[in-house]
Symmetry: D3
Subunit: 244 residues, 6 copies
Amino acid sequence: MTKILIVNPNTTASMTATIATAAQAVAAPATEIVAVTSSMGPASIEGFYDEAFAVPGLIEAFLKAPDADAGIIACFDDTGLDAARSAARYPVVGICEAALVTAGQIAKRIGIVTTLPRSIVPLEELVRRYGFADRAAVTACDVAVLDLEKPGSDAKAKLEAEIARALEKGADAIVLGCAGMADLAHELSVQFGVPVVDGVAAAVKQAEALAGLKLTTSRRGAYASPAGEKYTGLLERFAPASKE
Amino acid sequence: MTKILIVNPNTTASMTATIATAAQAVAAPATEIVAVTSSMGPASIEGFYDEAFAVPGLIEAFLKAPDADAGIIACFDDTGLDAARSAARYPVVGICEAALVTAGQIAKRIGIVTTLPRSIVPLEELVRRYGFADRAAVTACDVAVLDLEKPGSDAKAKLEAEIARALEKGADAIVLGCAGMADLAHELSVQFGVPVVDGVAAAVKQAEALAGLKLTTSRRGAYASPAGEKYTGLLERFAPASKE
Amino acid sequence: MTKILIVNPNTTASMTATIATAAQAVAAPATEIVAVTSSMGPASIEGFYDEAFAVPGLIEAFLKAPDADAGIIACFDDTGLDAARSAARYPVVGICEAALVTAGQIAKRIGIVTTLPRSIVPLEELVRRYGFADRAAVTACDVAVLDLEKPGSDAKAKLEAEIARALEKGADAIVLGCAGMADLAHELSVQFGVPVVDGVAAAVKQAEALAGLKLTTSRRGAYASPAGEKYTGLLERFAPASKE
Amino acid sequence: MTKILIVNPNTTASMTATIATAAQAVAAPATEIVAVTSSMGPASIEGFYDEAFAVPGLIEAFLKAPDADAGIIACFDDTGLDAARSAARYPVVGICEAALVTAGQIAKRIGIVTTLPRSIVPLEELVRRYGFADRAAVTACDVAVLDLEKPGSDAKAKLEAEIARALEKGADAIVLGCAGMADLAHELSVQFGVPVVDGVAAAVKQAEALAGLKLTTSRRGAYASPAGEKYTGLLERFAPASKE
Amino acid sequence: MTKILIVNPNTTASMTATIATAAQAVAAPATEIVAVTSSMGPASIEGFYDEAFAVPGLIEAFLKAPDADAGIIACFDDTGLDAARSAARYPVVGICEAALVTAGQIAKRIGIVTTLPRSIVPLEELVRRYGFADRAAVTACDVAVLDLEKPGSDAKAKLEAEIARALEKGADAIVLGCAGMADLAHELSVQFGVPVVDGVAAAVKQAEALAGLKLTTSRRGAYASPAGEKYTGLLERFAPASKE
Amino acid sequence: MTKILIVNPNTTASMTATIATAAQAVAAPATEIVAVTSSMGPASIEGFYDEAFAVPGLIEAFLKAPDADAGIIACFDDTGLDAARSAARYPVVGICEAALVTAGQIAKRIGIVTTLPRSIVPLEELVRRYGFADRAAVTACDVAVLDLEKPGSDAKAKLEAEIARALEKGADAIVLGCAGMADLAHELSVQFGVPVVDGVAAAVKQAEALAGLKLTTSRRGAYASPAGEKYTGLLERFAPASKE
């Protein structure tokens, strides 16, 4: 069995359930999916500030599960990905990076549709870092992350309208820019007649790929294991007993 | 079962055998690997000219196997990849692209070690197209492709020396830049203590990923199916009368 | 005399005639223009697949004319340019590259107007490779290549509309993105009051330039002559028994 | 008076003292420098993991001092800069960005000399984000951050050797890539006859500049204020009531 | 006292007055602002040709004031900046570069609004050189420089409309792309609720920063002092007999 | 006849003679070469300062010869090229740009060998502007421009050594980075067995190409004709009373 630990770095458990379902749907028979919700941090991750405060809970979740074969960070900002790679004993996959490398093998121009406009720039910076600046454009459908789950909202209509705009501007595949959209990929793909890639599903397959190749994060260079002694008592230290 | 067709676009059958073995070694239980040698073209692909003449045989191989679930082009130049994607009914993976996206998820800086100096520029152009220009450097160990298989050659020693140089210059993972090196990855990884990625193995997992996600090449935009009627009489001409 | 061999890499002879006329119109007195139609391949080149299958016929044409002083590939995709440079004894000019370096010396921002939308991405990849990514934008007037020659089509009106849009978006020169448009350059230039560059004409002058400077393709590095012995029996197969 | 809050995001108070001294030395007469040590996090910041865990303490420090006129993050990784800009009421300056924009106005090619090799890639990613990829090269003198303060270490000799190498490779100015080197800039500048820029000093002047221009972080787009309600009880939440 | 010499490289004295006022408004108490009008050159700088002919007068102004602590070139094209840095004894700041590095520390995406369309490309080239190509977009409000000062013109309305368009396209801060707009920054910032950066004000603070850090242009590499003896008789010729 | 005006923008007449000879050697039979020395400016152009002061004399030379069919600026810095294009009635070619577009059609990787190290950065900026940043590397052989003409100097030996180094680092063609080296190209090409491109010769062919195509600088956008009336009294001042 290959055990894949998926961490939802926000603290909204219902979103974890959506993510887990999407992951199970594509997992190989020999893959065990374990999806956990971060124990601390923001209820949703929308922008740089939320990202920063999601990292400690995320890392804690990876450190508590040293026996996994691969990890996934289930937020499209790939929150804390570099830190997680430095810390986890197994490879860690980000859903944005996984979605891009997947879409990049079946299409030339990619439209990434995210939730709020304030997430555009952080995602553009990711896209550039991953080498897709010439191939992928980020737009927002102006829906708050948590509204994706609210029955009766116009979230899906807004998402569809933004996908249509992206195709018109030249995209030949769509990437859904939020883990909370994981359940919509198949339906939208049929509707628009183009590949629609969900990052959670893509990440499960990348995690299976790395585990299957017995490859893990290089310990040479930037991902070298952190010097633990500087962190004795780590999480306790974040809540200083008596201080200031 | 997932059927993956691997085409060796050069005409050297012994190299196909090396490739098939490397592919089998990492394939999932439910994956069937079918490896074929191109029926026409150069004995090895070293540079732009060889690439061009390897494409017709390669495409023919994909067209003759319409029932595969995914295809792989087993030459590190990703020879004919865009044409194959336009023509095949299933997703097609290039071993260079697969190796880079795999290595890129476990390392920041990648050293690609290829065979002859004349292949450096074509690979640099691929690296740039795939968005890894800032992260991957291409060097050559100055071994002809077909010498990799000759017993008693100094090919492996030259390859090791070049890997050592790449690590010194800052690489934290190595990608082997020739399908003929597929059997060496594991051993070199142990020897140097860094991930060493073989493109053939990486491509098998990317092909399984795309097939598992039921994703195939977009038919919108640059990969739209070619207008076949313009080709009347052409493909027959490419197909040799007596198949070798 | 300087002999320039122009190969139309598609198999449509009427387009070769258009190309030859455009070339003659700008050739220097001491230049002899020889224009040939490829003996095999697609009737028009629209996208990656057509490109791949146009190469063997193209190369064959160059190999059959070893006494030329320079060669030109008269398809705006610069189909097979790198392979041709490796193989031909003389310098080979691509009409896209020639048009861009010409336009780049008389304008800062270039609008490239091609035929079908599916050709946009292949041309964008060329533009990037030639270093014009910051200066040139590719758009399509949505006319099939072969319709450019059909009397009574709305091809010219569509082309004019697209040129107007490109100028509005900031282009200060236009490059015609298809060899089949070669006869329209002068008229459109007068009409719009900006330089309109046709790749065929531009390529003739670049070919004259290289021949006049007695410069030919470097044999060091990526363009090193291909190792012919690996190809025994191959070119015969590509050459149709009775043709031209 | 202009009050500038400098936060040392690692927990080593002696380094805060070095930083405060360097800041005072260049502050304008009307500037009040307040330097604080983060109350939680790693003792030094060397790589992605340390960065992530330094952010909560850093943000806390800015939130506790709402009356400052500008803030400075005194770690050369510009740890948490985007999050701090989203949260603080005043502009926030990173010492890496400040050093680069300063050096960029007096030199064309910049050599950044940091401490450990593992910090090279994180800094290269910053350099790229700030638009200096073509102008600045990052190298390491292989000295641990905390060794910079140890009497009798060979830290300074190693730093000098690395500066000499950077100048040889074409740098015309040096940026010291660690806040702990702040006291060495002037001396090294005299010794090597080129500008040597310390990020702490540079940041004080950039902070004075922004405060003097009455400019603060845009609240439109990526730096929009975080949605506070998602964070009720923020820091308490980081220390979950019952530790799992 | 820190003496900052601001040179208006066009010959319009009323624009120098606007510039001086904007500079005084932000100068530190210990800063002395000296603003001079170039003694020769075009009345306004709009494009490459005007730029070239503004340089001699500009350089002359710097050479005539060897006792300044820093210099500023008050034209948004940063006309002659590299030459001035090579020649002046003190650091020289360009108002475009100063505006960009200032805006870049408080915003992610920058809209630069200049005067005439013909200035867009020269500014885009500057933006690219300064490393802001991914972050800043240049547009023109189609107002001639000298019309900015004409009472009753619709210049301000056009500028406001262009700012609104830039914000809609994603800018989160505005940079005013002409020294003649220096007096409008504050008012526009209040009106649009985003930072609006004037290059003259930004440059004063950068000049104070460099002077305060006792940093000046590197004499190693591209800014090495010019070999004066080659110029015998030249500067006299540039200096007009009767100074206007 | 096609009349090509070559302006040597430095004031050293012996260098103009070398340039004229190189130009004549490659000119077509119907081409008339007119080479002039600038009437004012530095004796050689080495760096940004010299460039700035060479422009007025250069422009004057073009304005004085309105009947030419094309112009060439014979300094490898392409000094004043954008201004000259704005002002001249005919197309203007820079020898650096001409050399790069020529070399780029016969080689993939280009080594540019210039004179003094201080010219490296200005040329790197040109290379980037022309889109050759990924393909061309600039190095210096450490010879002052005027020493190239001194009999008995070690200039040629130094140049040869630098060419050898460039080839070792992967160049497959060499561009001579100074107009004063124009006479050496052929000999060096034979000696090293690779194309060696001289900018003067390349520029003659580019000028013939543009004239032959009846193309001239676009008057739309950045090269729009300058508004002359702003310059009343200016050009007279630049024109020396008694022409030397």
